[in-house]
Amino acid sequence: MMLFKLALRNLIGAGTRTWLNVFVTSITFVLIIFMSGLYQGMFESNKRIMIETEIGGGEYWHPAYDPQDPFTLEASHGLLPDAIADQVTVGVATPILITQGSIYPEGRLRPVLIKGILPEQQVVALPTSTLSGYAGEAVPVLIGAGMAKTTKLKVGDTFTVRWRDAHGTYDADEVEVISIMNVENFQVDQGQIWVPLERLQQMLDMPGEATFVVASQETNLLANPGSWRTMSVDALTEDFRRIMLTGQAMMSMMYLIFLALAAMGIFNSQVLSIFRRRKEIGTLMALGMPRGRVIGLFTTEGGLHSLLALVLAALYGGPFMYWTATNGIPLPFDYAEIGMLISPRMVSVYPAGLFVSTTLLVTLIVTIVSYLPARKIAKMKPTEAITGRIN
């Protein structure tokens, strides 16, 4: 307790030098927690978007379906196994049929995925109900805002779509954009058009067939849905999770740089302290302070830097982090354009463990870099320290 009081007295007495170190360390605290929170927020937000708009509570895949291999699409369609069909009937799952096709907006060819979905489905948060009640002769299509932007399509535009049916015969028809949806998930937006499932089944001559089925978040996935494969949310987000882990490793490097900067500041300050305060150190020894307590005093002084930094960080970083956790930070450009699923507004998430681990880590490192120069004091002869000489 005495060492703590003395260290605090010394720190406060040191004035500007102390506050500069405290400020630098507090920046480290805020940056590490903020960046981690942002990354955590990005991961959770993107996972939520994927679940809400794309994968629901999991999927059932046709045995031949492989989303990474477009060449499998031609063969990956079939009638739903009974157990899955039952879930579709009661509205806790929705089938999706996919085929490759081409569209010709403004006469230019664009390859697309044509996706058929039940207009009345409530399993994924897509405005598919806009596909129902269309009275025109063309095929009604729903596209995403990203797709509309790249193809310069707007509601009411008609264009030609061409596809290959179940028998390998090419066919074409006119489609009309009846709705443009704003959806944060480019994976249900870019390069695809959504049409009513039944209409697509007719176009492809695949009555009652689907490529995969999305289950609702509220239902339990069937463990054994016949010949189709069950894909859990974890399995469907695994690639994304791995990408995030890779990113996290890079973030860790940044944390280390922040920490190293703060640690160097404290270390430099402590080393300077030793040279500037060697006479004081000699006096402490002459007055009867054992070497161990002198080391303890200087180490405590260093450790207190991180405590004061924590308080300072809470003062200015707290409101800032609260703001980023409630309002989010708008991103300067659309990451969908470079094929990354990142929400246009990044809302940070700060779990309690993040605060605890960052505090412990920073305090530990700051204490270590305070201890190292303090050890040098222990080797200093009191007779030389008193006169201000360096040995």
Binding site: T283, L287, G288
Partner: protein, 239 residues
């Protein structure tokens, strides 16, 4: 050790490594200091005054011979034991005051008592008493940078006496003071010596200090050249 002896030194030799060889700072020094003595080590620069004081204070170790201070033989003692001796039994006064710059006058004087683990009430009382001794009660909240040289040395004296040590070691205590302040601080120390029977050991070549000493040990080239008892110190009254 004689009950009356506070320091016993026998055949003390102190050598320092210099280049490939050694420099001998003290040679065959044998002497005793008794309780209540007001002793000065006098001699030219390099004669070994400060070295002898440092060894008596447990800040440096002898190369040969034995030194016993306050019944503790210093040979073979570790840093912790020597720190304990200094903390409990010895007060130090330095030429350059060596006050802790971020502490107030009160805190500087309080510091040795904090090290001793004295409780708050006793501590405050002892600090106030020491500050009254040196007539600095009006400066308790000042910091060393706000004090004159004489005031700083009075704070250093208060810090040395606050724990009522049996021995006070003062290395050139008046070297940075003018004549008036030198006499003031020496007067204070004489009073302490008389009223508390505190033993003082000085290293000095200041004539003013010598005028207060009751014993003068002359050192030349690390040897005791003369050990003189002063029956009537020049500036000391009523002896």
């Amino acid at each position: 050790m004689d009950d009356n002896h506070i320091v016993e030194i026998r055949e003390l030799v102190k050598r320092y490594p210099v280049g490939g060889g050694h420099f001998t700072a003290l040679r065959d020094v044998t002497t005793d200091v008794v309780v209540g003595e007001f002793t000065g080590l006098v001699g030219p620069s390099g004669s070994g005054k400060t070295t002898l004081l440092n060894i008596i204070g447990g800040l440096d170790a002898p190369s040969e011979g034995s030194v016993t201070v306050l019944d503790m033989p210093l040979g073979g003692k570790n840093h912790k034991e020597l720190a304990h001796l200094r903390r409990e039994g010895i007060g130090f006064i330095f030429q350059t005051f060596n006050l802790l710059p971020v502490y107030t006058v009160f805190e500087n004087v309080e510091f040795p008592l904090l090290l001793m683990g004295m409780n708050g009430e006793d501590r405050r009382s002892a600090v106030n008493q020491a500050l009254e001794w040196v007539d600095l009660m009006d400066k308790v909240k000042s910091r060393p940078a706000q004090l004159s040289g004489g005031e700083c040395q009075r704070v250093a004296i208060a810090r040395a006496i606050v724990k009522k040590p049996k021995l006070i070691i003062a290395d050139e205590p008046t070297a940075n003071l003018d004549a008036e302040n030198s006499h003031n601080v020496m007067g204070l120390m004489v009073n302490l010596n008389r009223e508390l029977s505190t033993s003082f050991m000085f290293a000095t070549h200041d004539e003013k200090v010598m005028g207060y000493l009751t014993r003068i040990i002359h050192l030349i080239d690390g040897r005791i050249d003369e050990d003189e008892q002063v029956s009537k110190p020049k500036y000391r009254e009523g002896k």
